[in-house]
């Protein structure tokens, strides 16, 4: 495995995917929180016509010019989506789908038109669609870094504003923050990240790289700061892991899909096992709570039965408790547990009464209920 790591250029591939992963994770956090997960998908598809138009106009493959074109058409698409949703009764899902497919279709039309001109070089649809992480060179890494640093700096500088815009727009407005300005800024960041990422992972997988790290990070924390950093780390980690995995085999496997599958795996693990929000954790908590609830209900039944009879020492059998319990099969176990805890005692064989400690415990529990 390690000799393949010494493949020339792998270092820059790793650095590039790591930077891109971090950037996607952080910026994606805001997109996911603002329910704009699929905006990324629409923008990335919408970059195609801009890319090709700038190629047609300037007739060069200079990445800055291509990226400028892509960014402009991506921004226009984002504004169109917002405009359609705002000014007509067409809902957001439809406006996203229309914008995405029409821009992409228009791009395809331009592309096929260009390719049939004899003087034009092939612009490479496959590269746009699936990216070519494997061909990242030092130059590309520097390029990614020059985009990444200002983007992260902007997020850092306007942290408080972005936080407010994400969670409480009206409060932000009341503080005099221009909400729409920061929303546009966030959308522009999204466009920037997508545009630089397209070359590496391609259109389809770009949206996964924006959404997945943020969703995974969301499961582990309730704090925006932690979430953004964690999402960045998840993104970077899967970028590196994907690049290594796809270079391990003898035949080269496309890097983009491997990265996406890796980050999807992280999402699955997070959804299942993250503390507090994870499904497994939640089920465990549910099971534990229902156990405690059952104990309490058996104790309550026992004490209300005891109260109905004058003699305090008058015990009740398990069979009796089973009759009034909602889950009769659990009664013997619960009674035993209660006895161990000293909340219930056995007055004669097979007959139980609550102890004074048990009565106190119950009184405290019910007072809680009253307070609620």
């Amino acid at each position: 495995m390690f000799e393949s790591l010494s493949v020339p250029g792998l270092g820059s591939v790793l650095a590039g995917t790591a930077i891109l992963g971090f950037l996607c994770g952080t910026v994606g956090t805001f997109a996911v929180l603002r329910k704009q997960s699929l905006m990324g998908d629409a923008i990335s598809h919408a970059c195609l016509p801009g890319l090709i138009l700038s190629f047609i106009i300037f007739n060069s493959k200079d990445s800055w010019l291509l990226i400028l074109g892509a960014a402009i058409s991506g921004t226009i698409a984002a504004l169109i989506v917002l405009g359609i949703t705002r000014f007509s009764r067409v809902k957001e899902d439809s406006s996203l789908a229309i914008t995405l497919s029409v821009f992409f279709g228009f791009g395809l039309m331009l592309l096929t038109w260009v390719q049939r001109r004899p003087d034009a070089a092939q612009a490479g649809l496959t590269r746009f669609l699936f990216g070519q992480a494997a061909t990242l060179m030092d130059r590309d890494v520097w390029f990614l870094a020059t985009i990444a640093i200002p983007c992260l700096l902007i997020i850092f500088l306007f942290w408080k504003q972005f936080q407010l815009v994400c969670f409480d727009r009206s409060f932000a407005q009341s503080l005099g923050i221009s909400v729409s300005l920061f929303e546009i800024l966030l959308s522009l960041l999204l466009v920037m990240v997508i545009v630089v990422g397209l070359e590496t992972v391609g259109v389809v997988l770009m949206s996964a790289l924006l959404v997945a790290p943020a969703v995974a990070a969301r499961q582990w924390t309730n704090k925006l700061g932690h979430m953004a950093i964690l999402a960045g780390l998840f993104g970077s980690f899967s970028g590196i892991a994907g690049a290594i995995l796809s270079n391990m085999g003898k035949t080269s496997i496309p890097t983009g899909p491997v990265i996406v599958l890796f980050i999807t795996l992280i999402v699955l693990l997070s959804i299942l096992f993250a503390p507090a929000r994870g499904i497994v954790w939640y089920q465990f908590k549910h099971w534990r709570d229902s156990k405690i609830l059952h104990l309490d209900s058996v104790l309550a039944n026992l004490s209300s039965l005891a109260r109905e009879h004058s003699g305090k020492q008058y015990g009740h059998s398990i069979a009796m408790l089973k009759e009034i319990s909602s889950n009769p099969s659990g009664v013997p176990g619960s009674v035993q547990k209660l006895t161990e805890l000293g909340l219930v005692k056995e007055v004669e064989k097979g007959f139980f009464i609550p102890t004074s400690k048990g009565v106190e415990y119950l009184a405290e529990k019910t007072s809680h209920m009253g307070a609620n």
């Binding site: 007509s88 996203l96 791009g107 649809l125 669609l129 499961q219 499904i279």
Partner: protein, 376 residues
């Protein structure tokens, strides 16, 4: 037109109709992005079915693709039901993952197989009339296979809509009511997903995955801006779909460019045009309506102002045409133009540049004060 051209256009129109029919319900149920997800993930079903049968023409490919489309939707929904992931994020997680698996499977196991990505996205409608792709039964040529398939899909979709029209309607517009009268909307939901998947798979071969999305969302959303009636929306959607198919074909023909790309471009142009100019809900008519309403309101306000000062000492000053804008706090030009409108519509007369109410103007002013008076 040659026979091949006619056949391509027929196929494009058939695909457009099949997609538009499903699209109407997707748009109304806010599920349009499912078509995006499905059209990507059918690739996985095709790849797996291909590995199992080893035949690119096998009907199992369609079964596999449809199954993976349905599975995609079910996965998105179950992810959503866990409550930890929202719908948009769930879609954004599921389809790239399944698509990645498909791309990896292709790149690992079938390097030399003709399953290239470009044709997946772009489709190969232009190849449909080729001799190898025709359906011949007992030596009689029935036309391209994909055209026959699309016709079958249209019949299936129409049948589904026709038989379950009432159920579709109630479960789309009022799922709670549907449940209350004892009809579980989930079955219709499943049926719809099944028909969307089948349609996407069948269209996929002809026009590619992106145009499937364009044809499902575009015509239906355009129709949504034109009518309030479900049956009319279905009809409009089909007509717009067919129009985009034919116009798109000729655009592609003149530019010598991709047919499916041109078709989705035309879909977008038609939607944009409708968005701006639709008679009831177009941007321009909404703006226009607001302007007219605003104008009527201003006129009523002016007439009220006149009633207030009618016969008072300050009438000369308050109702003087030169100083109206000061009292009403309007723009000078606007105040004057509203005043002229009042005179022109015989709501007021001008005496020495002072406005006087006519009986008609008085009635309008008093009516506008009454609650519930319609300013329209």
């Amino acid at each position: 037109m040659t026979q091949a051209q006619i056949e391509i256009q027929l196929l494009a129109m058939a695909t457009a109709v099949a997609c538009s029919l499903c699209g109407v319900f997707l748009v109304l149920r806010r599920m349009t992005l499912m078509s995006d997800a499905i059209s990507h993930t059918v690739l996985l079903g095709i790849v797996i079915a291909y590995f199992m049968t080893g035949d690119l023409a096998s009907p199992w490919l369609i079964v596999g693709a449809t199954t993976s489309g349905v599975l995609t939707v079910l996965m998105v929904e179950s992810l959503q039901k866990t409550g930890v992931v929202r719908e948009d994020a769930a879609i954004g997680l599921v389809f790239p993952a399944l698509f990645s698996i498909a791309v990896l499977l292709i790149s690992i196991f079938s390097r030399n197989v003709h399953l290239d990505m470009d044709s997946v996205l772009v489709g190969k409608i232009a190849l449909a009339p080729l001799p190898s792709r025709r359906m011949e039964i007992w030596g009689y040529d029935f036309g391209p296979k994909s055209l026959m398939l699309m016709v079958a899909i249209i019949i299936m979709n129409l049948g589904f809509i026709f038989v379950f029209f009432k159920e579709l309607k109630v479960s789309t517009f009022d799922p709670a009511f549907s449940k209350a009268i004892g009809f579980n909307p989930y079955w219709i939901h499943l049926g719809l997903i099944l028909s969307v998947s089948t349609t996407a798979v069948a269209s996929f071969d002809a026009v590619g995955s992106i145009l499937v999305v364009a044809l499902m969302a575009g015509p239906a959303a355009t129709a949504y801006l034109l009518t309030d009636k479900l049956s009319n929306m279905l009809a409009w959607s089909c007509i717009i779909g067919m129009a985009s198919a034919v116009l798109g074909y000729w655009l592609a023909h003149f530019l010598d460019a991709s047919i499916s790309g041109s078709m989705s471009t035309i879909t977008g142009i038609i939607f944009g045009f409708t968005f701006l100019f639709a008679p009831e809900r177009g941007l321009l008519s909404v703006w226009n309506r607001n302007k007219v309403r605003n104008r009527k309101f201003k006129l009523a306000l002016l007439l009220l102002h006149l009633t207030q000062h009618e016969g008072t000492i300050r009438e000369e000053e308050e109702c003087h045409i030169e100083s109206l804008h000061l009292h009403l706090r309007w723009d000078e030009y606007e105040a004057r133009s509203v005043a002229f409108e009042a005179v022109e519509t015989y709501c007021a007369t001008q005496e020495n540049k002072v406005l006087k109410l006519t009986p008609k103007g008085r009635i309008i002013a008093l009516e506008s004060l009454q609650l519930g008076t319609n300013l329209n």
